[in-house]
């Protein structure tokens, strides 16, 4: 294994094409290019491109084998982005709001795949809310990223269900309805890895993504990702300016992959260390407030307060372990169901003969 990685300490660019100070090959001997996809066709400056880039980096730095990844998405600007990363991974751009169900089927068919789902706030919280919640309560194996900009970009700027109360549309209309907080709902549904981030916060997003990719079961990251064309104006609560001015990280997040030694340097000043199933660790360090992400009630309380006081709190909001994943609940064989040979899925003729006899 050619591990030469260190935890990235700074992010220098938001565009995937930008030059990065990263090692040339990862532990598989692959360059970052092996994790790229087709060129993005999104608007220049779109928050989604920055998230795409972090997914490329996270999978590259973790040394994930591209062929083991399934990229899943619904419909919308965010859902298009699965074409822009991991070009050597199979991708399925499904129908609007229904990626959750597709991902569920993929997970059942091949439990060995690493599922990366990318969706938007319209795709997840409006048309797809039901499926999203059911996917979480089933604990489907997936790293689910919501690229949350509060509007429908592809249809030119209508509000989505995550738009904050009082937020103003580009054409001036104000949202008067209560926003749907996907993170609070996820915690309610028993999701054991719930994070919120900002597409402009590279370091935090990178650590959250890596943690999510190492998590067993459903992991959700809700990333505020400004829409440069339809929701980046004065009065918007999902604009770059608003996010930059209001982001309040709950902690400093570090991620130590399983293949890297956990040194004293990491431990120093840590308020929480979270062990992930694959041996990786998340290290949380205090910034302003004391926050324990393993306390479900406190997490929900804080999210409620954040909504009332319009705080933009980011970080690992909630983490737990102990729930069985869907694949475990179903007691599936270790091999993918998809490729089981006939001898394992077709009972012998004697079984049929016995059934026939019982019906005579």
């Amino acid at each position: 294994m050619s591990a030469t990685l260190t935890e990235p300490t700074s992010a220098t660019a938001s565009a995937p094409s930008a030059t990065q100070v990263t090692p040339s090959v990862n532990r598989l001997g692959l360059t970052q290019a092996a994790y790229r996809g087709a060129p993005s066709t999104l608007c220049s400056g779109c928050g989604h491109d920055a998230i795409t880039h972090q997914i490329i980096r996270a999978t590259f730095e973790l040394g994930i084998e591209p062929h083991r990844v399934a990229k899943l998405s619904g419909i919308g600007c965010s859902s298009k982005t699965t074409a822009y990363f991991l070009g050597q991974s199979h991708g399925f751009n499904g129908v609007h709001g229904r990626m959750a169900a597709v991902a569920t089927g993929v997970n059942l068919a091949n439990r060995t795949l690493i599922n990366i789902g990318v969706s938007g706030d319209g795709d997840t919280a409006s048309i797809g809310l039901g499926q999203f919640l059911h996917m979480l309560r089933r604990n489907v194996q997936i790293c689910y990223v919501i690229e949350n900009n509060g509007v429908y970009g592809l249809t030119k700027g209508q509000f989505s269900a995550t738009a904050d109360k009082g937020s103003v549309q580009k054409k001036g209309a104000e949202n008067e309805m209560t926003p749907i907080d996907c993170c609070a709902l996820a915690i309610e549904m028993g999701c054991e890895y719930v994070g919120r981030s900002f597409s402009g916060d590279m370091k935090q997003l990178s650590a959250l993504l890596k943690g999510a990719l190492s998590h067993r079961g459903a992991a959700l990251i809700d990333v505020v990702s400004p829409c440069i064309s339809f929701n980046n104006h004065e009065g918007s609560t999902k604009s770059y300016k608003f996010a930059k001015d209001h982001e309040e990280p709950l902690h400093d997040i570090g991620f130590v992959p399983a293949f890297e030694a956990f040194t004293a340097e990491y431990a120093e000043g840590a308020t929480h260390t979270i062990n992930l199933p694959d041996g990786a660790r998340i290290v949380l360090k205090k910034v302003h407030r004391d926050y324990d992400p393993t306390d479900k009630t406190k997490a929900l309380e804080l999210l409620s307060k954040a909504r009332d006081e319009r705080l933009f709190l980011t970080g690992l909001l909630y983490h737990a372990s102990g729930q069985t994943s869907m694949v475990e609940q179903k007691n599936l064989v270790d091999d993918p169901l998809a490729t089981l040979p006939q001898s394992r899925v077709r009972p012998p003729p004697e079984v049929l003969a016995a059934i026939m006899d019982s019906l005579k």
Binding site: F92, R98, G105, L108, D334, A338, Q342, M356
Partner: protein, 612 residues
Amino acid sequence: MPPTTAVETSVAASQRNTIVNDIVIQVATTNGSGSQSSNNVLLRAIFQMGIPVNGKNLFPSNIQGMPTWFTIRANKDGWAARRETIDFLVAMNPESAAEDLRELRPGGVAVLSSELKPYLNRSDIHAHIVPFGDLVAQVCPEVKVRKLVANMVYVGVVGCLLSIEIEEIQKAIARQFRSKPKAADLNRNAAMLGYNWAAEHLHNGHEFTLERMHRADGQILIEGNAATALGFLYGGVTVVGWYPITPSSSVCENLIALLGKHRHDPATGKATYAVLQAEDEIAAIGFVLGAGWAGARAVTATSGPGLSLMAEFAGLSYFAEVPAVIADIQRMGPSTGLPTRTCQGDILKAHLLSHGDCRHILLIPGSVEECYEFAMESLDLAERFQTLVLFMSDLDLGMNHWVSAPFQPPAKDMDRGKVLTAEDLARLKKFERYRDVDGDGIPYRTLPGAKHPLAAYFTRGTGHTAAATYSEKPEDWKNNLDRLTRKFDTAREAVPQPVLEKDSRSDIGVIAYGSSDPAVRESLAQLQAEAGVDAAYLRIRALPVNGMVREFLASRRVTYLVEQNRDAQMASVLRMEYPELSAKIRSVLHYDGLPITARVVTDAILESENRK
């Protein structure tokens, strides 16, 4: 209503001719009263005497307290379709008694619970008043189960009146209650009591009798949905997504039972399948597409309203070329409609399900045996053609009891279609997901997880090139649609072919499909016997059709297309396929929610032919 005390009043003994093994028995009860077990016992006892039977359950969309009927047709010639005339009535339900008695044919037999005596106002039937309440009290000390057990008393009474062998009744009871020995004893005693009481108290003066024959020997008795589940089991299904809806739920319930019993790894005890109950039908088909894309053999079962919800994914399956199977057990619609009544009302919708240019393969079983075979076949075809295959059964076939030859083990290996592995890619050094390499319109696919740099491709509902890259170019779009048409044309010869059930030189043809088959077969015999009308009969078993159907239509003056829907849906499909033969098709349509009868077909054809 004047009470009638007369039993055996005015039917003269001299009028009697014995009718052997040709009877329709109707049991009228209340739903939720536990009559299902008794009716199954009655049906099986007759079946075990070697007599072909069919059992139809006509039930309300309700759990308890509404009228329900179970109809048994026993027929020595094997006619299994519904018949309008009721020969023998067991009336247990005051709510429906007046109408039940009215519908009994003259000379018929009625067994009435004594509290229904006031409803008896006919003198042209043989009526037997039975004190079920008093009788059941003798064998059943437990008051709260007496209502249930009373049903088994009527089984004994009917058995005695129709000469059903008591040993076969006992055997059927033992089978019905095999896991509950105490209940088996109680019910056996109840049936014996009814049998003996009838032998002592009732004068058997009617013309019907049942006697042992050998036509059903070695046959099986099964519901279509159970047969369908067996087909999916032997088809090697690995992922099942479903949302409960009448009348399809028993497909999945049967399948869950079968998979639980036969599909656990012997070494580890782990499951080689996954069944997931979805939050709605959209999610159910979503699971199926996700699983099918990842390489599993995945199915869902639903009925009309659920099929509507699946429409968007159906189009994605067609266009992105993802294998999927939907078993549609058709019921009366639109909307809630009559959820417990049958029809063939989804044919056109299923064939064209979704938006844009979209045509799907339909497999249409005409018997329980075909339910088994086509369920298996649907999984092969879905993977072979990388598309949605709809398995079109209906409530009559799916939820009723049919006699069949025992099912045979699969004659061929599973067809996993054109899937390239990493090894294949290393050899070929080239892969384009949507390229028509073989000229049959069917491209090659790879599965996620295949470890080769060329393996990955991006599946999308948007316009794409042969290499699966995004495209809005007009020629790319058109070329792709044209290839899908080629693929569809390839399917014409690969799907279950039409069967020429009856050849004839007659210029009259009959085409039918699905559960109309038993009625059409019987009708052909009626046409011959009653009016000397001969007709050829072609049974369609799948869409798309091929030239065989065209030839059948073209070579005859007229073809009657029998369907159980209002809008002549299959006729519309054939008219789209063969517009030049449009005028040769005349529709015989039945759509009242009850299964079609031979009489409906016969009368319609005779009237059209001016032979009536």
